[in-house]
């Protein structure tokens, strides 16, 4: 492999990672835009999503180390798995909002944030106790198709991640920009009280934000499993911290910003791991988080939601 090939390969890896982070970052951004709340539970909604995807695949008879599927069976299995995972994760997000966060909505201070940490920790430990500490093998129903681009390799799983991510992000952008609910959501992000007085059902907007964000996180978790062929109860923490960094980098509360931030963080991770060491990846990404927060807290694309405090 020439140097160019290596860079190309890292770019392919980075964009794939970045697509997953972007999906996760969108959930942070949607909720933060409306409630100004960092939802730490989101970290582990992603992780739970990956386990739900695993369960669904096994329910459909696709086991780890099974031969790859082809044709319509493959498409059907993937569609069904994604749909179930996203609905389940979305419902989990709504449940969290309803049970743990709504009672605290008008409480000043860090109460809500602390609660999301508790919820996140509960999810983490339920999966740990239920499935054990060992990493779980994830089925790989995708055929081993790959394309050589120079010396770099583009596999079907990467293409799948890109396609699905673009589809989901496009759908979300359409939803936020062009539907009535999307408009209500943007209005609520600007000023919840004014939106309420104009007839927006703020509770429904918040539930929608939690549902969409969590569904995207679930899709991200499933992609994680399909990409690495492995999942574990610990994946939420790292991915969550990176995705949050992505959201902040792009400008928290800003939907395109979350996508851009996700891709950048994915690339940083891929190239940072290559140039320096994978062991230091977290340190590099964390340093970016601090630098962005200190020097450009509005992020690259700026904040859409005004600072309400």
């Amino acid at each position: 492999m020439t140097a160019v090939d290596v860079y190309l390969q890292q770019a392919i890896n980075g964009v794939s990672l970045g697509a997953m982070y972007a999906l996760l970052a969108l959930g942070f951004t949607l909720v933060y835009g409306i409630l100004e709340l960092i939802n730490f539970a989101h970290f582990n909604v992603f992780m739970v999503g990956s386990f739900v995807g695993l369960g669904m695949l096994e329910l459909l008879g696709v086991m780890p180390n099974d031969p790859a599927l082809t044709g319509l069976t493959l498409v059907g299995v993937l569609l069904l798995t994604f749909a179930v995972t996203m609905v389940f994760s979305g419902a989990l997000g709504v449940l969290i909002e309803r049970v743990a966060l709504r009672p605290l909505r008008n409480i000043r201070g860090p109460a809500s944030m602390i609660t999301t940490i508790g919820v996140s920790y509960v999810l983490f430990n339920i999966v740990l106790l239920g499935f054990g500490a060992d990493a779980k093998n994830f089925p790989s129903p995708l055929p081993q198709v790959q394309f050589a681009i120079g010396g770099a390799v583009l596999r079907l799983r990467e293409i799948l991640i890109w396609v699905i991510s673009i589809g989901l992000m496009g759908g979300l952008t359409y939803f936020v920009q062009f539907t009535k609910m999307g408009k209500a959501m943007r209005a609520t992000a600007q000023d919840p009280d004014a939106a309420r007085m104009m007839g927006v059902e703020v509770d429904r907007v918040i539930i929608t934000a939690f549902f969409l964000g969590s569904a995207l996180a679930g899709a991200g978790g499933l992609m994680f499993g399909l990409y690495y062929n492995i999942t574990s109860y610990v994946i939420g923490f790292q991915a969550g911290l990176r995705a949050f960094t992505a959201a902040v980098l792009g400008g928290i509360g800003n939907v395109p910003g979350a996508m851009l931030g996700g891709i950048i963080i994915g690339l940083v991770e891929a190239f940072g791991s290559y140039w320096i060491s994978a062991a230091w990846a977290d340190v590099i990404i964390f340093s970016i988080l601090v630098l962005v927060l200190v020097f450009k807290p509005a992020g690259l694309l700026g904040r859409i939601a005004p600072n309400k405090s």
């Binding site: 960092i38 860090p110 109460a111 944030m113 602390i114 509960v122 062991a279 977290d282 601090v290």
Partner: protein, 683 residues
Amino acid sequence: MTAAMSLGAHESATQKAARQAKAFISIMTVVMVAFPFLGMAFQGLGLDWDIGDDDVDSVSNALAYITLALGLNIVVGFAGLLDLGYAAFFAIGAYTYGIFTAYQIMPEWSAFWDPLAAISLVEKIHRDGADVVHFTLSFWIALPLAAGISAVCGVLFGFPTLRLRGDYLAIVTLGFGEIVPIVFRNVKSVTNGAAGLNGVQAPSLFGHSFQVNPKPYYYVGLVLVFLLVLFSVRLRDSRIGRSWMAVREDETAAGAMGVDHVKAKLLAFAIGAAFAGMTGVFYVAKLQTATPDMFGFPVSVMILVMVVFGGMGSVWGVVAGAAVLSLLQTWFLPSLTNWSHGIGEAVGNRWMQKVDFAGSTELIFGIILVMTMLYRRDGLIPAARKQAALSFDAQNVQGVVRGGFNKAAAAKLLRDMPKKGGNLLEVRGVTVKFGGLVALNAVDITVPAGGVVAVIGPNGSGKSTLFNVITGLVQADGGSIKFDGAEVLGLKPHEILERGIARTFQNIRLFSNLPVLTNVLIGQHARLHTGVAGAVLNLPSASSEERTALQRAKDIAALFGNRLTPRLGQVVSNLSYANRRRVEIARALASQPKILLLDEPTAGMNPAETLELAEQIKSLNELGLTILIIEHKLDVVTQLADTVVVLDHGEKLTEGKPAEVRRNEEVLRAYLGRAATEAAHAA
């Protein structure tokens, strides 16, 4: 705490509670000191209760968690900074001691080390055919050393990040807590990586090594807890503790009242880190090993759960919370597992036979955290005891009092005022822009010493922006503000207050969850000097300063007759609107200002109360206090002001005596519009 020093009927109840608490603490102290030997006592009494070494060890672990929780309580509870990576400082302390006593870094021996060997910081050992250095840092030196190193790390980390908003700070600390163990894992040559340090030296005292006997560790832990409780309580009730709570409640108001919020936050962070660093030394010395996994996110969460469960900001609550939860983990959950298995076998329930509560500790902690936030946010022992509202009669003992403040009483509370005649405040050509909006355009205002200047103008004319730029809350885009002859433009709000400019806010910015008395005490922050050492050691200078400050605060409140005095112990958010306005003025007066900036002080008051307040302001002025006031009620303006400045669209429209300004056509037009002006002429 000061909140407990209420008056009247509540006094006996609070005193009784304090006495009971004191008795309970005394009994607990005796029990704790005797604890390792209680087993023998029980056996002497013929009871079959044994306190084994493992029990003593469990309680020692609980003591370590109590010290950690006390440290985090300073950061989260007192200063309101949500730190999710607190275990990082625990790790830094632990590795400070571990690295300098374990067999990890062993440079070759040379003459350089001889003097260090003489004071037994190192020893010469023989390894692989060469003489090498083995560090043997004393445990007793390591405790303060690690505290210092952790505090420095806290400041270095906090300096760039503590300016961030609270929720961003949470995620940044989470990241910090994540990377510190990564660094310890990756720097293998120093820390032995994931395998951890081995052979960490046990402490010794008077030549006797602690070895693995749990009893000496227990007593070291007990002394640490005792010291840190004392430290926490004294800081909480001092000028330093009040500044933390002020920052927690309202950073902007804290700044305007003389609290340097960056300094206050850094101090809280450093002290919290120091507590954790010391505990780290204690903890690794006891375990005699240190691995990066001992300091991960779960530990930070566990300490946070202890603080939240015990009661954020409540010293005794945090002690109780940490004790209950760590003993729950080591004693109760394993027992519960055994009972469940026993009952499960008896009734044939498979789940009960299999369940492992001890293995689910973290899950249970997570549930406790969520439940506490949902159902008991103030925790086990809340920081502030709720005080009953005053009875209807008590609230209405006094009607409106005419004639202003008692001059003799007020004179004692004000400082010597600048001589009349000169100009105290000179605003020259000050411009403030918010993006494209020009909020103030080259405004000139002069306030003579001892005068009263009123600023009037329609809403949005820039009046409050003028106050904000004078007090340093917004930056000017040009101009100059001279106070008492010196430039104050560009100074930080707390520095401006120190110079003698105090203000109130249009929307009332009090420290809402703190009692009236504490609010007024915070107003004195800039005039008091007690630092950490003075407060912790309870030096005579500190305690006499505190007594004087308390008396001053009560005297200032007493100026308002019976309005505030019966409510000194009440949390501000329970007060009526008018009383909150009065507290804000009392707080500003407490800072001994030379000039008082009042932003619509009578807003929301009825005519009688307005008159009362106007006369009180007048009496302050008669004592020499210079006043700059924003007011909409023109009769108040006419009654008080020597000069009236009219602002409109950020520009000074006119300036003059109240009667002149009332007749000025431009003013009428700005206020009432052209048609109204014409109507006025016609009439």
